[in-house]
Amino acid sequence: MTALAVNVDNIGKKFEIGAARSSNDTLRDALVNVIKSPLKRLQGNAQSNTDDFWALRNISFDVKHGEVIGLVGRNGAGKSTLLKILSRITEPTEGRAVINGRIGSLLEVGTGFHPELTGRENIFLNGAILGMRRTEITRKFDEIVAFAEIEKFLDTPVKRYSSGMYVRLAFAVAAHLEPEILLVDEVLAVGDAAFQKKCLGKMSDVAGEGRTVLFVSHNMTAVQSLCHRAVWLEGGGVREIGSAQKIVQGYLQTAAVSTAEQVWEDPDTAPGDDKVRLQSVRVVPQDGVAFDDINVNTPVDLQFAFHNYQADVELNFSLIIHNLEDVCIMNVVSPPQRFAKGLVNGVCHIPAGLLNDATYRVRLLVVQDTSVALLDAPDILMFEVQDVEREGNWYGKWPGAVRPTLDWTVDYRG
């Protein structure tokens, strides 16, 4: 095979933010990304209506036939825009890309699903939307149904499906797409853990069949295990291209990835050893606030769960919180406690009005007898705390590693 599967040559995409403000969905994404990106903090709140925003600039890379390439980067780095350009959904502003082969793109599961239609009908509809021929869908129909595990509900309108069934069906259709070049955007982050595992399995089958795949994901484990190479996008440009292993490591080191939770279904791959093994960690904002909306007034719970494999042991925990500049903000230590063998759940409550606005990385230590660290898991969680609108006339960046709300006593002794 001589020709490249994909040749991306100096692609750039510009959005006019002023024009985009009107109403819409895709650009709303773009705007949200702009607002969330750290750029905003440098510029303050100024958002000129005439600003041009380059979502992508000077992007060049090649993909060989049969290669599986991961696209990694923070929200707003331009990954999804790049996939949309390569899928021909939107046009680049400059540069060009050449794609050799039939393209299939999967930017979302269940595109075009209609709630009134039955599972059977939606399989055909969705298949056609994703670019399958009718004969192809008919041929794979049974396989799709079996993969989705919805045999009994095939003739039920999907509006009566549980969300799990819905997602399973949607992914099943998509998973049976067989283009020469597949573009996939973060669709594995759906369904329950067991189904996610199945999806990942399907993805690695696809990769193993020698098809060319471009794969956007925040799941670094998936990128590392599925992809040969990875392209690391940052702020709309290519930061680095290299082996998936190397890129993922570099990317995780900058820890520029928000991690609301991590769950290790398989203890063998979880951090830990034969004494303790992590099972899950989570950032859980309180007061019904969404993870992406955490601000300085949001109380946040840091939850963790691990398997304790020792019979009777005294353990305590330490949560160390760093900011992105690697400054340690605090080390919170729990009192020691005795545990029997089994699963242990822990929560540390961070009150509202303690953290300053910044991005925080969390490191967890499990310590035995207040002296031996059994487990040291750095960068297991990462979350962003946003500023809020303040009263008063001062809008600059609030200085300080923390921003606690403390009691004051001020007397006038005139």
Partner: protein
């Protein structure tokens, strides 16, 4: 063994040469129509139409009953107002037959325009997530209305027969007028749906446009109420050609004097084609920004 190797190698080479090449870059100026792309995606068109129809008729019996009842109720209402109270002349044909023969294609047109003009925005989810020729979106909305039309048409024939009107040989040309109606609906839908992506006010404007258009089209009245020297103005409205064509094809010999002269049909068809062709170019040229704005 060597033979199979050779074979698989041949396969690969063949596959290689078969591979379609896609070049992605910014397009400027007038976009090519790429109607071959629409043809390549005909199965998707079929499924989009099928979805619209299926969803509309999901409520089974009652759904179809409404499709039959709606035009009949309208017809009754219009008959009372225009036929009885206002005594609108109908050139010797019983007024209900006269009006219904035009009301059925008009209702199709109005429905198609209404649905198709908002189709791109309603279908934003598709447009922003999958590639396909966007033309399919308004096209499928225009075509989906044909099922309603077919049902109404059966009712129309029943109404005609009840007045002992049997269409003559002219009915053979009816498909031509139907096609004329479809292309007219499509032409205007292309303009309106593409504009609606940029200017959401279009959505609010469409019912008003349709209402005004209805008055300007000889649905409830005959072209013959206007002096002959003035009729070419009516023909500037392509729907005049469509509804008068329907009347001529269905009422045939029993509808004398009111047929448009051929030149007037030519004007109607000409305008319709002009709108369609410009609509396609306009649509294709604005298409490249749909996904960014919708």
């Amino acid at each position: 063994m060597a033979l199979t190797d050779q074979l698989s190698l041949d396969n690969q080479v063949e596959q290689q040469s078969d591979m379609p090449q896609t070049i992605i870059r910014k397009t400027t100026g007038l976009a090519a129509l790429q109607l071959d792309q629409v043809w390549a995606f005909r199965e998707l068109l079929y499924f989009l139409v099928w979805r619209d129809v299926k969803v509309r008729y999901k409520q089974t019996a009652l759904g179809i009953a409404w499709i039959v009842l709606q035009p009949l109720i309208m017809l009754g209402l219009y008959y009372v107002i225009f036929g009885i109270l206002l005594q609108v002349p109908s050139n010797g044909v019983p007024y209900p037959a006269f009006a219904f023969a035009a009301l059925v294609p008009w209702t199709y047109f109005a429905g198609a325009l209404g649905r198709a003009s908002i189709s791109l925005v309603e279908g934003a989810q598709l447009v922003t997530k999958v590639y396909f020729p966007r033309l399919l979106v308004p096209l499928s909305a225009v075509l989906a209305g044909l099922v309603d039309f077919a049902i109404a048409f059966v009712v129309l024939i029943a109404v005609l027969l009840s007045y002992r009107i049997v269409p003559g040989i002219e009915i053979l040309l009816l498909p031509v007028f139907l096609l004329f109606g479809i292309l007219t609906a499509l032409g205007f839908s292309l303009w309106l749906s593409a504009l609606n992506v940029h200017y959401r006010d279009i959505k609010h404007l469409v019912p008003f446009i349709v209402q005004t258009w209805w008055f300007a089209t000889p649905v409830m009245y005959a072209t013959s109420i206007f002096p002959e020297s003035f009729r070419w103005v009516l023909a500037l409205n392509p729907m005049t050609g469509v509804v008068e064509g329907f009347r001529w094809a269905l009422l045939g010999g029993q509808y004398p004097g009111a047929q448009l002269p051929l030149q007037l049909y030519a004007i109607s068809v000409g305008i319709s084609i002009l709108v369609l062709v410009t609509g396609m170019f306009f649509f294709r040229s604005t298409e490249r920004t749909f996904a960014d704005i919708v």
